[in-house]
Point group: C2
DNA sequence: ACAGTTTCCCGTAAATGC
DNA sequence: TGCATTTACGGGAAACTG
């Protein structure tokens, strides 16, 4: 019996990372009604029937075949394994009473649950109940809860090695910025983010709200990068997180028309913008940024197309593009031309005779323009760019710089880093 | 007993129109996994338990409480009624064999099913099985099948009064254009469409493919109108279906800058475009149309915004708007100004101090431009507008006009019609 | 391999519960 | 009443299945 118990302990050790991938990047977060999987279960060398369960703090039901007999696989180490697929979780909404939340003090994305795997072993007439469990998981009901849920998972695994402390968030510890950075580095894209120090200060707060606010912002940016601008990101074209002071220091010595791409820090949704150099009439160097583009807008138009088509409209309705060189000195066309949408081929007609007739429609394209005031038509710009720029300048001065001296060329450094790690 | 049977017959009469609304506009189409309802069931004046079933041609299961005891309601006519809510259909995918389709010759959207309502009545010691059924319904598994399914429902109800001819589509009859027009008039928006005669010719074909092709096109336009341009439609601003010849006849005497809005007939997805008058250098009157805007594009930008912002960019990058008067002579601003998106208010900052600092970003807006060739930057327009226009003109000449003489001002007529019927 | 059909599941909107 | 959470389901894409 002792022999068994020892074997158990080692066999049932809970691996740290991959447990229940729902979204492959977000283990340990399970959405109700969405399938999840538990696979590659190292086991004892016996014919065992395993049953999957979940803790009873809330009434969840596991749908799907939740028991399985393990097979001897010709797998890696010759141990037994079982794979649970097509499992879904559904909360049991009892007819009327029975409130859902076991601990009403916790919000649902900080409520931790355990998924257990039970089996029975008979050896020399003795019945032994074996049981192991997953790391704590967070159960969500809508994907919009994912950022918060994932923040909880990261925070937990960052600050504890306890395998089943489901009450972690009743008094969560405070983490340091270095720990946060390390956790973020677990994620592929985040490895490249190189978050600036000033963001870490936000995390020094107690826990909860501020922490989550930052995380939601970061997560939205990660999402934006992965979905919309990954190619540009991998090219190293996107400066990403950069303080306004550093931006100014980089762009100031550059010729007008030089621009860089950076994330916006001003909105919770996360956005990306570009800042360029220009000289005003007096010859003074100015920086200009456009209002950040959000996922919503990138859904319809690639960022490369936006950059290539961006124009300033002056008072006489003449369009000029203020973007010429991507920092440090890459011509715009060279950098983004290959990522622009190819010209749409003419579509076939609905009737039969699509061969001879040519589409009699004028082709159009959407471009993004900044109208200056005094334009003759419906211009939406109540304030001149000069005024805005001076305001921006003032704001920059109001925030003293935190620039660290050593990091001379972050852009070049990160680009080399990208070339080493090709995650996508 | 005869008394009962007679009562049954009248009590169980199947109402023609509203039967199982899933999409409120599309009765008799049920999507698996989506709830549907059967309500207000006129019944005999006895305590009856009703059970909902579906025919067994495919293995569908009805989820939800499919039996119900009828209550005496203080309803309209004092008859009994039962309401079935939260019913969903799920196809039973047997483990391996058992092909789904009962009649493989029919596509799934032409496969008709009956939903039956069964009950038992005991009277004077005699047990009588009562049963009624819905009109034939179409079961779909994805919303993208809705246009075809709805076409089947319309076609069926247009051409037969049979209450349960589930084999209708094994040899469907041919319908006339008048019948189609009548069926289309059952739908709110379609009442206003006033389809031109030449579309009816397509429907004279055998059945099936061509019929569906037309329907899908019409349905997409109906959808586009309802979702994106209903306000403009109700104002009577949208000409809608108009032949190129009639368009030319209407616009030709008008001053340059006059434009009208019409649907595109060139793409199955359905789109909307505008055509305007201009004079070329020689003083000759020309018509121009832009490539039609689809739902995809209207998702991001309202049609009013597109119209107000539309510009032609000439070789020197100067923008001019070719749109001045909506046909017949409404100034563009007057017609569409109130439907343009209001200027975005500046968003609060993420930190706390959102009171004093002003967003230092340049506001932008997307506009739709038609670049002419010889522009200096990435222009996508390989053919001059003149060339295109002459091609268009040729195509128009190639299709002889079908204009009927009596219909002098369709626009005004339809606008009055709109004012009479305010469906939305 | 392929096309018709279904499943999967995000993300917006609405409903629901506390 | 308001907010937190869940449900509903359209729609795009992947998976399925003869």
């Amino acid at each position: 019996v002792d022999l068994f118990r020892n074997l158990m302990k080692s066999a049932f050790v809970v691996e740290r990372q991959p447990c229940m991938p729902m979204h492959p990047d977000r283990p340990l977060v399970i959405k109700t009604g969405v399938q999840f999987t538990k696979s590659e279960f190292p086991e004892l060398n016996y014919q065992l029937k395993i049953k999957v369960c979940i803790d009873k703090s809330r009434k969840f039901n596991i749908l799907g075949t939740n028991t399985k007999v393990m097979n001897m696989e010709e797998s890696n180490n010759g141990s037994l394994s079982a794979e649970f697929k097509h499992l879904t979780l559904r909360e049991q909404r009892c007819g009327n009473g029975g409130r859902t939340n076991s601990d009403a003090s916790l919000i649902v994305t900080e409520e931790l649950h355990l998924i257990t795997f039970e089996t029975e072993v008979y050896h020399q007439g003795l019945k032994i109940d074996l049981e192991t469990h997953s790391l704590p998981v967070v159960v969500i009901s809508n994907i919009c809860q994912m950022p918060n849920a994932w923040a909880s998972i990261l925070w937990y695994n960052m600050l504890t090695n306890h395998p089943k402390n489901v009450n972690f968030y009743t008094k969560p510890p405070v983490g340091t910025w270095d720990q946060v950075a390390e956790v973020l580095s677990w994620q592929a894209v985040c490895k490249l983010l190189r978050l600036p120090d000033h963001l870490g200060q936000v995390l020094q707060g107690k826990h909860g709200w501020q922490r989550l606010l930052l995380w939601v912002w970061l997560d939205n940016i990660i999402d934006l990068v992965k979905k919309y601008i990954l190619a540009l990101w991998n090219e190293g074209y996107i400066m990403g997180f950069i303080s306004k002071e550093r931006e100014r220091a980089l762009l100031n010595p550059k010729p007008p028309g030089t621009f860089l791409l950076r994330f916006s820090e001003s909105s919770k949704e996360g956005g990306i913008t570009f800042t360029w150099v220009e000289k005003d009439i007096s010859g003074k160097t100015q920086m200009q940024s456009v209002e950040p583009y959000t996922k919503q807008q990138l859904n319809n138009m690639s960022f490369a197309d936006i950059i290539m088509g961006y124009k300033i409209m002056d008072a006489t309705n003449i369009l000029v593009s203020p973007l010429v060189y991507l920092y440090p000195d890459i011509p715009k066309d060279e950098a983004f031309g290959k990522y622009c949408r190819p010209e749409a081929a003419p579509e076939p007609e609905m009737g039969g005779d699509s061969t001879s007739t040519i589409q009699p429609y004028l082709k159009t394209k959407f471009i993004c323009v900044t109208p200056t005031n005094s334009g003759n038509t419906s211009d939406l710009f109540p304030m001149s760019p000069r005024t805005l720029d001076s305001l921006m300048h003032n704001e920059v001065e109001a925030n003293p710089s935190h620039l660290e001296a050593g990091n001379t060329d972050w852009f070049e450094e990160r680009k080399r880093g990208v070339e080493r790690n090709s995650y996508y």
